[in-house]
Subunit: 198 residues, 2 copies
């Protein structure tokens, strides 16, 4: 005894989502069928539309419905600054922080030799081309402070150094509101090493 | 700065899934767009098909693509036994345990006055009709041993008692492999109270 075939297929299809196993997939399918058929129809339609509409911006490589995204085509942004981030989620976080007025390049990943992700997979050739447009004066590296993010930042900085473009890295240190008593020792050590004059 | 409209709509649509908040919904949408467009197309198609194909079995009320589901139309099942469960997931668990050869009725819920779920919402009229078909000799209550599941079982047993149908409840007690030292005291107390002669 199993579920009807179309229901089994839906459960299998839900497993393509990150972090969704057999039990969660079944719960999602049952929930939609029993309690939220309108939500299921909306989700199905949204999936269809997004696949039609969304591609990558020619300039920043983030998701966009147009060849060049709204941010890249804005005249309000400082074209001399190019910030490199791993994902569109990181870009959104930086925009929410309202601390940066330049443009972006989204790698859509990070260097990860163990997963077979090399320079080509994170579009470093396009990033280089973008940084060499003659307007960019400074590349701000905002990859994560994980091993892979750090390796990616190091690799990019080496690439750009030989081209005479200024490269900076966002600061590490204690978080705002952070207490020395409670911060991890790695972060504290970095904050001391990278101390600045006041 | 936000995501493109069709992507924002997909993120909003993912939030109809149980346990999916804003961050998870965005992660799911980004994952599909970036790493699994084929999976997204499959999920969209599966949602469309399941909404077209799946309704409730006229007899057991579980999900079915036909008026009467395969289990209910099987000649292999004992029509004198009717097991009442809360959800299709519970029915599948019982079938996997290969311990029961009768038929089922799926309530698609449980009595829960606090959530405004009363007897009508769990199809008790149809369950009664089903139990009164002249073939059913015993109704096996297999709702959960939660407060709500217990209340539902109690309510159904009262309804059926006046109609002269034998009503049983699946057993509580220590799980198979359970150790007295490690079981919770409520379960242990029940196991003592409901002890049986050997």
């Amino acid at each position: 005894m199993k579920n009807p075939p179309s229901l089994e297929e839906l459960i299998a299809a839900f497993r393509c989502l990150p972090g969704v196993g057999a039990k969660s997939a079944q719960r999602m399918a049952f929930h939609l069928l029993q309690r939220d058929r309108a939500g299921a129809a909306r989700l199905g339609a949204a999936l269809g539309r997004v696949l039609d509409a969304v591609r990558h911006c020619e300039r920043c490589n983030s998701f966009s419905e147009t060849d060049v995204c709204g941010l890249c085509s804005s005249s309000q942004r400082d074209a001399s600054l190019l910030c490199v981030v791993e994902t569109p989620a990181d870009l959104l976080m930086l925009e929410q922080a309202q601390c940066y007025g330049g443009l972006y390049f989204v790698l859509m990943g990070r260097l990860s030799p163990l997963d077979g992700i090399g320079p080509k997979d994170i579009h470093l050739d396009r990033m280089l081309q973008r940084a060499a447009d003659g307007l960019v004066k400074e590349v701000v590296l905002a990859t994560n402070f994980t091993n892979e993010g750090e390796a990616t930042a190091h690799f990019i900085s080496e690439m750009l150094a030989s081209r005479g473009i200024k490269v900076t890295r966002i600061a590490r240190g204690l978080p705002v509101g952070g207490e020395i008593e409670h911060v991890d020792s790695g972060t504290l050590a970095r904050a001391v090493i990278e101390r600045r004059s006041v």
